[in-house]
Amino acid sequence: MSEATTTMAAREWPQALSKVPYWVFQDAEVYRAEQQNIFHGPFWSYLCLEAELGEPGDYCATFIGEQPVLVTRDFDGEIYAFENRCAHRGSLIAMDHYGHAKDFTCVYHAWTYNLQGDLTGVAFEEGINGKGGMGSDFCKRAHSPRRLRLANVHGLIFGSLDNDVPDIEDYLGQEILDRIERVLGGRKPVVLGRFTQNLPNNWKLYIENVKDSYHASILHLFFTTFGLNKLNQKGGIVVSESGAHHVSWSAINREAESGEHYKDQKIRSDSEYQLEDPSLVDSFSEVGDDITLQILSVYPGFVLQQIQNSIAVRQVLPTGVDTTDLHWTYLGFEEDTEEQQLVRMKQSNLVGPAGYVSMEDGAIGGFVQRGIAGASGEFATVQMGGQEAVSSESRVTEASIRGFWKVYREAMGFSIEESK
């Protein structure tokens, strides 16, 4: 048992999945234990897109939690990932978020690594004129940065720092795999833009927000204000078997649409405000089905988003107890027509740091973080839709949030309170 696990076992977590203690968003010791138990633990973290490593030598410097990692494509065509930390005295091996290199030379003392992360050269290894240098017992092979386990899911590259992580197929489960395939399967994504949002809150408050389908029509009033809601949508929530991952979706309801009253009900015509350019919401069927919204999360910190034709991946990276980096990568696809790309550009206004239906999410975590100051002994209530963490046809539920906490509290090793 790691030291982090032992200290966490001294903490009591409520038995009911519907109670979340506020200290979990506030405590520096918990934050440090998360780095060990979650981000270095047996879970898969999103690293980058395969499409971002198109050519041999392309690399991406990213993070799992706070741990810097380097993802590369070598000349054998394969993708590799290893800790971005020089085996000598710990400097970053590469700094550019996205770059291209034949190999990596640490700037501090010029130790050199190949694209697979093997230490290949040590400057002045033999010393100068027979003096100085490494001792004869020094073996380069024993000093390579730690390699990650990698998985490629329809072009999404996931990595894990723990060799005991289950296979990605078992980790995600068939329903989640199918929903990823629905958006990315057989298509080659093209990056349209990358934006980073600094969130003034603990990372888990953003994860709760992503999994919270209950807030969407209440906090985000853009569609309602401008009368753009379709009243007769169907949808639901999928919670993966473990509780870890989720999908929230909605679709055009063809049956209701063919009904007599549909024409009158299609658009809320009573809205006071109109868009001057309503072409913002003109969309095409993304993959040939009726699904217009699909938000998918993979534990601990990955989101795949389809909001109409706005496709993006989001990577959630904790940077402190009450600060989080949210990395957005907006996507199109190679086969997009010019018209389709234009639709994606217009709809990029819906999401991101200035998004019509997402900007509130950048601030709401901060409102909670500030609201719970002084309440570390109190609890959040997550009982909308019951006590379980299971799929449902209603999106007025907090089931997927309960699923997150179920997996989280176990991974952290808290003691679960005896039921009364």
Binding site: G193, F195, T196, D277, A354, A363
Partner: protein, 154 residues
């Protein structure tokens, strides 16, 4: 008036509409078919087309303003823009292209004055009836990061 004066006058009025209001005047600094985008230096360098705000006509800019007034929810805040002198890159009777650096500080709620954004405006202006209107403004922010959210335009 020469291009420098026309552009300087327009920019003074532009930042005043955002910082001191009325914010409804902001879209009036653009031509009807104007293009406006807020992006980052990194995206710009790589030629990536998306923006955090992306508009290809003035109506979309007006929608930005009605959304922030009527629909979006956020903590009240204000900006103060500090603009450098416009560097005029090309000019003719009918218009000019220019680049102008900016620094924007933000004051949220009763919080402090925080540096929110720095960068440059890449502009195409048309001169209409003695005023410079923006035909194209690409706001290139130096940093890839946006703190919390971007509501008011830059």
């Amino acid at each position: 008036m020469d291009a420098f004066t026309l552009i300087s006058r327009a920019q003074g009025s532009y930042v005043r509409s955002i910082d001191d209001g009325p914010i409804e005047d902001w879209p009036e600094h653009f031509a009807d078919d104007a293009f406006y985008k807020v992006t980052t230096a990194d995206n710009h360098r790589r030629g990536l087309p998306a923006g955090v705000i992306w508009a290809n006509n003035k109506a979309m800019l007006k929608d930005r303003i009605s959304a922030l007034k009527e629909a979006n929810i956020y903590e009240p805040h204000s900006y103060r823009h500090l603009l450098g002198q416009p560097a005029i890159l090309e000019e003719s009777e009918d218009g000019a292209t220019s680049e102008t650096s900016f620094l924007v500080v933000r004051i949220t709620g009763n919080g402090p004055t925080d540096v929110f954004a720095s960068g440059r405006y890449l502009d195409e202006h048309v001169f209409v009836d003695g005023t410079a209107l923006l035909k194209r403004r690409v706001v290139v922010c130096d940093s890839t990061r946006t703190d919390t959210l971007l509501v008011l335009p830059l």
